[in-house]
Subunit: 221 residues, 2 copies
Amino acid sequence: MATGALKLYSYWRSSAAYRVRIALNLKGLPYEIVPVHLLNDGGEQHSAEYRELNPQELVPTLRDGHRIVRQSMAIIEYLEETWPDPPLMPDTARDRVRVRTLSQIIACEIHPLNNLRVLQFLERTWNVPQAERETWIRHWMQEGFRALEATLADSPATGTFCEGDFPTMADCLLVPQVYNAVRFGLDLSEFPTVAKINEECLTLEAFQNARPENQPDAPPS
Amino acid sequence: MATGALKLYSYWRSSAAYRVRIALNLKGLPYEIVPVHLLNDGGEQHSAEYRELNPQELVPTLRDGHRIVRQSMAIIEYLEETWPDPPLMPDTARDRVRVRTLSQIIACEIHPLNNLRVLQFLERTWNVPQAERETWIRHWMQEGFRALEATLADSPATGTFCEGDFPTMADCLLVPQVYNAVRFGLDLSEFPTVAKINEECLTLEAFQNARPENQPDAPPS
């Protein structure tokens, strides 16, 4: 069980932090946001203080009392095991593997290619111009969304949400990835099932409250 | 429980397939290897037949009777839930989250940047020369291995293996990643804990039998 208050080291626009905010909200767990600005001062995630918490110099990091938890999917599984109710995972191994597969299509195949450090490498080390960087981003998103759509559209297991009729870890990953896709101008009309699930999720307060623009560290609009 | 024979769609040198081979061997589960050649005929993973099994057009895919399971970490968690003995995950949420974090440092932050499809994009779409592609590979490996080493070296939880004294999912990911690192000439002396765990793992038959060069589809040496 919890050993103290929950603190989430987060950046308003980080889609990995967004995943964990959704999960915490769905669980109804109170938590404090500790903003880590990924751009100011060369990136606060690279400070010695933050590196102590997270040697990958990435957000999010969850602090549960004295315990430090890293990597967004690992954090969500930790929340699930520590506070099982309401569940973010289905009951059977068959359904759980589907939720993990959908989550990993996003976390292992789409997001890692498009996160800030990779875009900074392309810009700073290789001088890849912005238009080409955006081609890169859209290419990997398109590949990943096609696989996601094929997996969701073909399956009787897909319900109102990615898996059945309550939100699971997969939805915690899908919504932030759609946010990123929209931000980079990906045409979602090719992915109707993904778009529909995203809309459904965003009718829920847990998802709304986790949105980047609703974070304490979001710049005034 | 199993609904039939296990078949693993695998490529000898795919590090994601290597992870699952280790897990299957550690569990003592018999399985048939179905080779998918990632380079011949423009890549057999892109065939219509394989895409039916895996819309991401990636290996590995596990077939358990009529059930199709994808994404290497999801497959390993599925094996763990379906055949719990011997375990590949520790007992407590605290220790399990550490195993998942270590696994995800590799599966979400190192491997996705260096897999075949990304290197092919750099070569074919951007004409990035081989020396630069190798700089790219080593850069992301170095970043990832530093985080891995920091996480492992600093922790009393690290034992003979990544977590304690029996091999877990994290070791199933570490050994194939070290194989890739050596292949691309990364200097491991900076990462002594990683190197030591890798050596320890490779004393076990389950890891030896999963090695790329011991696969039925490996070319004659």
